[in-house]
């Protein structure tokens, strides 16, 4: 069965070139992709994650507000009962923020410049881990 991924941009940042490339590459790689668009509230992202029963939630943030928005989304996912969904984050992220994002609830972080192939592989591995553990 295809891996279901929800992709969204939380916060107010509108740079969506990268997230659309990722969404499209995932679709081409056989994932079932739901892209919500820009300016999504963490609560809405969590609600859709539950509704659509996705295995992975991917956030794209280029405004610098990634740590706070990742934490808010992780909280919202937990509150909605979707804590099984794997949360991953991409964007303009400095190396030293990677640990802070992991602490905030991200299972993987893809800073600008990460090859799309690596994102696809990483998500396959992460979803496999979810399936075997449950």
């Amino acid at each position: 069965m295809a891996i279901r991924v929800l992709v969204a941009k939380p916060g107010l940042d509108g740079h969506d070139r990268g997230v659309k490339l990722v969404a499209r590459s995932l679709r081409d790689a056989g994932f079932e992709v739901i892209y919500l668009g820009i300016r999504q509230r963490p609560e809405s992202i969590a609600a859709v994650a539950v509704q659509e029963d996705v295995q992975i939630v991917g956030l794209s943030i280029l405004s610098g507000a990634h740590v706070a928005l990742t934490r808010k989304t992780a909280d919202a996912l937990r509150a909605a009962g979707a804590e099984d969904a794997v949360l991953v984050v991409g964007g303009t992220i400095r190396q030293r923020d990677v640990a802070r994002l992991e602490e905030a609830g991200a299972a993987a972080v893809y800073p600008t410049g990460t090859p799309l192939e690596s994102v696809v592989e990483s998500l396959r591995a992460l979803s496999g881990a979810v399936q075997t553990s449950s």
Partner: protein, 528 residues
Amino acid sequence: MDETVRSESGIPLNSSYGPADLPGAESIPPPGVFPFTRGNFPDGYRGRPWTIRQYSGFGTAEESNERYRYLLEQGATGLSVAFDLPSQCGYDSDDPDVEEEVGRVGVAIDPLADFELLFDRIPLDAISTSMTINGTAAIMLAFYVAVGEKQGVERAKLRGTIQNDILKEYVSRGTWIWPPRPSLRLIADTIEFCADDVPRFNAISVAGAHFRDAGASAAQEMAFTLMDGVTYCEEVIGRGRMTIDQFAPQVSFFFYTHGDFFEEIAKYRAGRRRWARIVRERFGAQDDRSCMFRVGCVSGGASLHGPQPHNNIVRVAYEAMASVLGGVQSMFTAAWDEPFAIPTEESATLALRTQQILAYETGVARVVDPLGGSYYVEALTDAMEERVVEIMEDLERHGGMVKAIEDGVLQRLISEQAFGVDRAVRSGERTIVGVNKFETDESPPKTEGYELDEKGRIRQLERLAEVKRTRSAADVKATLGALSTAAAKDGENLMPHLVECARAYCTVGEMVDVLKDQWGEFQQPVVF
């Protein structure tokens, strides 16, 4: 396999060009003569050098004010204001949904008090202010007028520009608020208000730059931008109060210059010619000044890359030269570290020096349109104009720009182009030095970067609370009520109401919410 060599926009290129490619050479008018292919002015940069305008902004109104006053002391004559995302999208700093964005990518503005602080001890009759603001542009213009009043500066003396181009926000930059149709009304209100009351203020800067950075080709960037310009002009003319000559001189444009050197030059030359023809032929302009295509640009953006980042210095220098050979009126050169960090003072200075070397050492600005008459550049300009016209005609056939945006057509065209470029880079069909050729195992540079000062946000919240406590609740209610009533029906210009709201210390969020109640919010078509 197609072996044709093509420009970045897909224009097929010969291996050389000659007289046969230039059938109309004698008929290309000199610079300063309609349709301005070779430039708006007969003496080019000799008469007026291009403006070096570096974009920056940060933190609170106090911090920005301090930086502005420093810049003015150093001889700057213009300011460029960057706003934070809540101010751009119409949220107040005390809205819990946006707390992590306050003061992050620019200055936070809530009520007029923040503008008073931002321009404290800066005489608004002596400087010009460029504001990169779109969704809430009308409100910031009202604030500017109101601060001018407080300083005793009459409206006729205020100089500056608001970007105020909402159409591209729906497609690529993302700071939309209301749906397109009421937003167009508000933009037409600002254009009429400026033409009537604030004649030295530019009411709009139609920006294609963001289409380009989202993935559009050079030809698409020009075509989409000209279509937006047409849409705004039609909106104003359709109201029957003004002719094109009454407001067109206050309309300007803004683009990205990327790496395909000659195509970028041809883009600006073709854009000047096409806009001049549109304004004269379609809108019946009598005054040649209305037909002039005034252009600012950015060199950098998505053409810069993270690996081997110092290569970006070279890229920006070539792009800056193409911009000048294309005849732009103002330029911002990006710093080499922009793909992964907020520029340091050192990298930002180097970007500035890149323009100064171009202006004062290379001599490229000595003669107007030095490539005019080149077989290749003239042929490429013609081909570029043809392609731009084709793209514009496709959009017209679809029902115009607003419909193309509402239906997601424009978004799809840009995504397709971006995906195509990405595929070409991944396959090696398109070379990017240091990215897919001549790569090294260099690790990314360690950057300190900018850390947001939490204290700034707290001060902002305290100031906002203080204003809300001390302002007249009755005035707030009355002015917001009047704004709401005027917005509910067509025909009345909303600018005077926004100025009244500003004087009563209503916040950006309060004004935006009143208009949301009347007009609703934009529903983004999600296309990838």
